[in-house]
């Protein structure tokens, strides 16, 4: 793979050598102009704010820019030490890792399985309708889904539990028991996003040459053999790429999903890092502390990303780069 890429650039270099600067700009100039806007976006909204990471090492102050503020205690690491001494941060770290890990194990294969199922449907119109229906929850916000979850799953007034009660069964505490809440959280995540995430796999599936299926049929492979030997290998690089990106997010945390689904009885499992940052930083004005937490989160995320990529390369896969 690497060899191929290197030869490509060599070829490019050669052709560039033959072109003058003017010729080159005439041919590709518009592309650069089109690139300008996203580059400006990234500089203004992604890179410039990074200067404020400095406030993780400075005294808590939002009035002055961080470079004018005095360094924090302990050689600037006061807030990191404070965070790790803070019980709530440790709980939040534990909950973030637990929820994201479960999401990865259970949530990650879901769209792959769904995509395989959809791929096997032969009746085109039915396939298209099914696809549309499974996409739809993606467009609902977590606020709406949490409202739906309450109406359906509340232990006494929820529809599901009313049905159970009428059938003479005990209500299930989907939302107010910490263990059950975790499963409700994971399952709702799958319901919301699995359909949408099939898109990328379905696109990869169209790239598999039909000749491979025909050849497999000739060799006498049945439906499951074909899935195993043709479809899944065809999806492998997509799966690996997405898995690496997901691993990079293992310590990242969404805010609206746990915040909206949470309630006072399950805060022991639902308080994740983003909620910690919201409560202590934005509401509690501890900006330096929460910047430190955010920085820690990002650094760990980068390590996971690099590690996963390395492992992928080792196993002969292309990885993300």
């Amino acid at each position: 793979m690497k060899v191929q890429r290197a030869s490509l650039t060599r070829r490019e270099k050669k052709s560039l050598g033959r072109m003058s600067w003017k010729q080159y700009m005439r041919r590709y100039g518009t592309l650069y102009i089109m690139l300008l806007l996203p580059v400006i976006f990234f500089i203004v909204f992604r890179y410039a704010p990074m200067a404020y990471i400095l406030s993780a090492f400075k005294k808590n102050n939002i009035i002055k820019p961080p470079w004018e503020v005095a360094w924090a205690g302990n050689n600037g690491f006061e807030w990191f030490i404070k965070a790790f001494k803070n019980r709530d941060f440790i709980y939040a770290l534990r909950n973030t890792v637990t929820l994201n890990f479960l999401d990865l194990i259970i949530g990650f294969p879901a769209p792959i399985i769904l995509a395989l199922l959809l791929n096997e449907l032969t009746f085109k119109r039915f396939k298209r309708i099914t696809q549309t229906i499974v996409y739809l929850p993606h467009f609902l916000s977590w606020i709406i889904i949490s409202g739906l979850a309450l109406r359906l799953l509340a232990p006494n007034d929820g529809l599901v539990n009313i049905v159970l009660k009428n059938a003479g069964m005990e209500p299930i505490h989907f939302l107010d028991d910490s263990n059950n809440w975790v499963w409700t959280y994971i399952m709702l995540g799958i319901w919301k996003e699995a359909g949408w995430n099939t898109i990328i796999y379905l696109a990869a599936l169209t790239g598999i040459s039909p000749e491979l299926y025909e050849a497999a049929s000739v060799d006498g492979a049945g439906r499951f053999r074909k899935i195993w030997h043709v479809t899944l290998p065809g999806l492998r690089s997509t799966i690996i790429t997405l898995l690496i990106m997901n691993l990079g997010r293992i310590l990242g945390s969404e805010f609206d999903r746990p915040y909206a689904l949470s309630n006072k009885l399950v805060t022991d499992v639902s308080n994740v890092i983003s909620i910690f940052v919201y409560q202590n930083g934005i509401k509690g004005s501890q900006f330096s502390l929460t910047t430190a937490v955010g920085l820690f989160q990002s650094v760990i995320g980068v390590f996971f990303l690099l590690g996963a990529n390395k492992i992928a390369n080792k196993f002969g896969e292309r990885g993300v780069w």
């Binding site: 808590n60 102050n61 939002i62 009035i63 002055k64 803070n86 019980r87 709530d88 309450l150 509340a154 232990p155 006494n156 007034d157 939302l175 107010d176 309630n263 006072k264 009885l265 805060t267 022991d268 409560q279 202590n280 934005i282 509401k283 509690g284 004005s285 501890q286 502390l289």
Partner: protein, 532 residues
């Protein structure tokens, strides 16, 4: 291109310098600025249905015109969403755009800004201009104005508005259910519990085919506020002010002695099926509980002292009468006596919102004059009652009765509380008239019920003395996370089985104390030299 750009920059710099100079030249002569001076003032935006632009309506016009005529000060309003005001002020302060006059309910927030150098010290300005601020000093008194002054440095970061209405919380029961079941109004904890059981046992009779919807007593996740009279009735009457101050960081009185026994009662009731089962699942601002109350399923609840009476046609009472029957009604009662047999309630001190000037305020005098103007009796009365015949009518005995108005005359907040930032509560500067009018302040509600509610909420009231000991460093930045902890463990303790109650409560309290609660207690105790 570069040259043009730099020219433009220089030009705009010169221009802004010129502007600054112009306003700096304005002299204050004979009670008026010689040149117009502009100040900006924070105003809450409640985005209420049918409301007007909070920065530009008939009431802001009144203030703007008054300030311009009287002092030559131009007032501009900056609207800030009511429910995310602290987040918004954070942003405005960080970008140097905060309004000259800011207001918030959270003193710790101001303390944090002050320690970052973001707030003006008001003390020198108040001393210098005291003679020009008679209305402000008359309304608030030295007590409220210097409430937060640091005893050692003399710095003053904020002025406390006056809380003119001391009533906080009430216990409400369905008057018509008591009548239906031939029950007397309960006057003790035991009688109250018996009444709840009677509601539960007579659900068929009271609710007919909706019998399974019966909720004898309801609360929200905000256990401390919504059960306050019950919980604080377990605080020993002999507890001293010192003890209550040291244990008084939590505004729901969580750390007061005896509190746990109050929560134990709720745990018992929950396990007897007397409390709404799903209360802990709904967050702040959710209307599920209100809709059950309005539908007529709820026997009793505790809430803000006038909660069922607020909002005219949309009030709980109005809804209840529409949904159930004309006799359906909630009345305020007192049931919870403390160990001395007193119906004790802990009332807040006479302070309300906190007004502060950020460091970017270069017009402190004009800003103080603004506060003085909105504190003058004439302005307060006009803002609170509006125009006669439009916002209120005068009854035969001279009292002022509120009537519901629509845009452009609507008040975006009750009694324009968002504009009268130095006072909360009706103040007509005539005690008798204010008293008479208060009961008529609720469109469509029986005045006797309001009078009873006022009495029930303040009877046996106790206000813990104010200790001015300067900033308590252990309190900075920790309030929100401690409140979240408190709500979570109280909810868990209430839904626990009776056998598990002690374990869960004690674990929750230990976590609360270990997460900063104990440090606050210790620092407070040390500052006032309190030993147990």
């Amino acid at each position: 291109m570069k040259r043009i750009l730099s020219l433009l920059l220089v030009l705009s710099m010169l221009l802004s310098l010129g502007l600054v100079n112009a306003s700096a030249e304005a002299q204050f002569v004979d009670g008026k600025f010689t040149e117009p001076v502009t100040i900006t003032v924070e105003i809450y935006n409640r985005s209420n249905d049918g409301g007007t632009d909070p920065t530009n309506n008939k009431f802001t016009d009144y203030i703007k015109k008054g300030m311009l005529d009287k002092y030559n000060v131009v007032v501009e309003y900056v609207s800030v969403p009511r429910w995310t005001e602290v987040d918004e002020i954070n942003n405005l302060l960080a970008s140097g755009d905060a309004p000259d006059v800011c207001v918030t309910y959270s003193y710790p927030t101001i303390q944090t800004y002050a320690s970052m150098g973001g707030v003006l010290d008001l003390a020198p300005y108040l001393t210098e201009h005291k003679d020009k601020l008679t209305n402000l000093f008359n309304l608030l008194g030295d007590y409220n104005i210097y409430y937060d002054q640091d005893p050692t440095t003399g710095e003053l970061w904020a002025i406390e508005a006056l809380l003119a209405e001391r009533a906080r919380i009430n216990l409400f029961v369905r008057e018509d259910w008591l009548a239906k079941l031939n029950l007397a109004v309960p006057t003790t904890l035991q009688e109250f519990e018996d009444m709840l059981v009677a509601f539960q046992n007579n659900a068929e009779l009271l609710l007919g085919e909706d019998a399974d919807r019966m909720i004898p007593y309801t609360t929200s996740y905000d256990i401390g506020w919504r059960n306050d009279h019950l919980l604080t009735s377990f605080v020993p009457d002999a507890a001293t002010d010192d003890e209550l101050y040291v244990n008084g960081f939590d505004d729901r009185h969580l750390l007061y002695p005896g509190y746990k026994e109050g929560v134990r009662v709720l745990n018992k009731w929950y396990n007897m099926g007397l409390i709404w089962k799903d209360f802990a699942l709904y967050g702040s601002g959710d209307t599920t509980e209100d809709s059950y109350i309005k539908a007529g399923f709820v026997g009793a609840f505790m809430h803000n002292w006038d909660y069922p009476y607020r909002n005219g046609e949309e009030s709980i009472i109005a809804n209840l009468k529409r949904n159930v029957s004309e006799d359906a009604n909630y009345i305020a009662i007192e049931c919870f006596q403390n160990d001395a047999g007193v119906y004790r309630k802990f009332l807040a001190d006479s302070v309300d919102r906190k007004v502060f000037f950020p460091y970017t305020n270069d017009q402190p005098l004009a800003s103080l004059l603004y506060l003085d103007f909105i504190s003058s009796p004439e302005t307060v009365v006009y803002l609170q009652t509006g125009d006669e015949g439009v916002n209120h009518v005068v009854t035969e005995n001279g009292a002022i009765q509120t009537v519901a108005a629509t845009a452009p005359d609507i008040m975006n907040s009750g009694m324009n509380i968002d504009y009268t930032i130095t006072i909360n509560g009706l103040q007509l500067f005539d005690a008798e008239l204010t008293g008479k009018s208060k009961a008529l302040n609720y469109a469509g509600i029986d005045a006797d019920d309001v009078v009873q509610a006022l009495a029930a909420s303040t009877n046996g009231g106790r206000t813990v003395a104010h200790y001015n000991v300067g900033a308590i460093t252990a309190e900075e930045g920790i309030g929100t996370s401690l409140s979240e902890k408190r709500d979570a463990f109280l909810c868990r303790a209430i839904v626990a089985s009776v056998a598990d109650f002690d374990k869960i409560y004690d674990e929750g309290m230990a976590d609360y104390l270990a997460s900063g609660g104990q440090d606050i207690i210790d620092e407070r105790a040390e500052k006032i030299g309190y030993t147990k």
